[in-house]
Symmetry: C2
Subunit: 406 residues, 2 copies
Amino acid sequence: MAIRIEHGTTAVAGFRFAGGSAGLKKNGRDDLAIAVADEAVPAGAVFTTNLVRAAPVDVAAEHVARGRLRAILANSGCANACTGDLGLAAARNTIAALGRALGIPAEQVLPASTGVIGTVLDAAKVAAAIPALVASLSESPDPFAEAILTTDRGVKVANARGAIGGRPFVVQGIAKGAGMIHPSMAPLVPHATMLAFLFTDANAGAASLAASMKTVADATFNQASVDGDTSTNDTLVVLASGRAATPIPRGGAVDRELEEAMTLVCEELARMMVADGEGAEHLVELHVSGLPSNEEAVRIARTVATSPLVKTAFFGKDPNWGRLLAAAGRSGVPFDPAHARILIGGIPVVERGLGVGAAAEREAHEVMTLPSYRIDLVLGDGAGQARCLTSDLGIGYVRCNADYRS
Amino acid sequence: MAIRIEHGTTAVAGFRFAGGSAGLKKNGRDDLAIAVADEAVPAGAVFTTNLVRAAPVDVAAEHVARGRLRAILANSGCANACTGDLGLAAARNTIAALGRALGIPAEQVLPASTGVIGTVLDAAKVAAAIPALVASLSESPDPFAEAILTTDRGVKVANARGAIGGRPFVVQGIAKGAGMIHPSMAPLVPHATMLAFLFTDANAGAASLAASMKTVADATFNQASVDGDTSTNDTLVVLASGRAATPIPRGGAVDRELEEAMTLVCEELARMMVADGEGAEHLVELHVSGLPSNEEAVRIARTVATSPLVKTAFFGKDPNWGRLLAAAGRSGVPFDPAHARILIGGIPVVERGLGVGAAAEREAHEVMTLPSYRIDLVLGDGAGQARCLTSDLGIGYVRCNADYRS
């Protein structure tokens, strides 16, 4: 059965959600979200690889390593990063408060924070807001999806439905993230301003979910970049209630169908994040191919995708292929520019390292007016390839980030 | 005798200059510059390390390797990069034309181009403009300094006067460059949108000048970054007329006083370039120290100096030290964030990894309103350190680069 992607939130058997305000955001918008499983369920996660990681990431990595989680406590408005022992105590105090309210051990709660770096999370405000949120728990993930947002233009939700052994299941993904987006997550190597939470009623073991999250992140979020700035708080976590009673493959691995569903959901969320990159007007899917190895292709793709000159050309809808080629050329990866081929939306603008001409560039310019398009850099005959989802760098990005704290 | 830095152009014994329009720029501004030595003189150069290098860089590297140069032919309005055999032929045709006009071999002419990538230099236009320029050669470098500009806000000239063995000499530096600034130059590894030309009446041998240019570039231009985009055309070249009859040290090396003068001139030019970074309002001198090695410090400095989140915070005059620390944390270099110390204009805003407080940040904000200031990241007790000159990323940068070709 083909997996279907759906937008909009959906109930997932075994989970309840709530969202509200703890007064962390100056503008009074919702900033506290909780998700609760009916019982402690298998969970897996990957976190930022940034050396500077937030207190909640340290705590979250410790808790998810135990294999099972009962709840998620996420806040926006404060990243609780670079906050030392005070930050760590604040993170622990908030999950302890949720644990008390739910009557569960604090070790079964995964904390996640996003917002300004350098401010200690106000644990008292969070604790005071928890009882009302717990009282409002319901099957609808909408308040949760809303409360985790920061500079996002809107909620980011995607679901996939599939079936394993004839038993239907759903994977629901809820994410936030617009700026400081350049995820680079590895299992239990804590680091997050990209937060993504997956809830599924499928059956899976905790160890296999953790491994699966690494695979899924590498294929999706880790290929996305808004500004090259890997955050201190990136978190991707999945909780599996098992209520769909899907069979677990022999050996205990995550079922292929389930992994595909999680990948599709994360791909959709990653595209939403990049399209919602701060001030972004275009989602560009950059494909680099023809290199001797995938690693070399990745290095070029990341260099091109984070080049300010390339990204401002995207903003200007300018098929300035010279900038693409120049960025590739400074990546440190050897290739022969005289054999480079560049296509924008399938239209060749460079063949054998030379511009095809003005007519092709006019066509490419038309493509670049679209909200989403693809660019191919073919740099040789090798089998190595890579993909990067990136966005344009426009005036909106500057406005958003120059004014963020003021 | 202490070396003095001066601004404004000055005559340098043994050199004449000219500038004018060849019609390469759409706006009709001057775009062709020539500098001529009275005879073939020792020269040394370094070029871009970008794999994608412009045709004139290939030719320039070949010619300067012969040790002596008689003339420079520089144009703005067209980088003649990614132009294949046609571009190479165009570069050779233009220097052949200058060679004929001056009655010298083309191999004694160094070509340099800057401007849009992907367009073949119009050699016929350049050749047609050469006779008038040759006829107007004079001791004043002003027309030369003007004609090499592209998006620069003004000419970039700095001079240093010193003395060797009691004989006074001068080093004059003339540069252009505002965008695509992230020089990474190595000797005879051709690549340039940063062009810098040094003219001195001091005495020096060609081989030692080449070595000296590498040292000087590493200490100055290679520490400067506007947007992280190393260009296809970066060129730094020095011509030494020897007319000051300064003594050459035993062994033939460049005299220490001369190298210091060249370094001071290039430092001044590098600061002008970054301060004139497209749309930039602030020149930030970033110092990273306390790492085990200089290489590790360089890696962190470059990551922080090119972070869009950091650079937009500079634009917003926001002492957002969390972004500085987060950028350092994703550089791939291990350090202990809990021991990090950050100073903005000498004001500590982070001690032991934690924010010092709002009062310090208000003071730091005042510093960040200045056109130029220093930031220190002290990340441990090691001796490894690095420096990077960078700028803010503002709306002006986006405007400049989104509209560049349209």
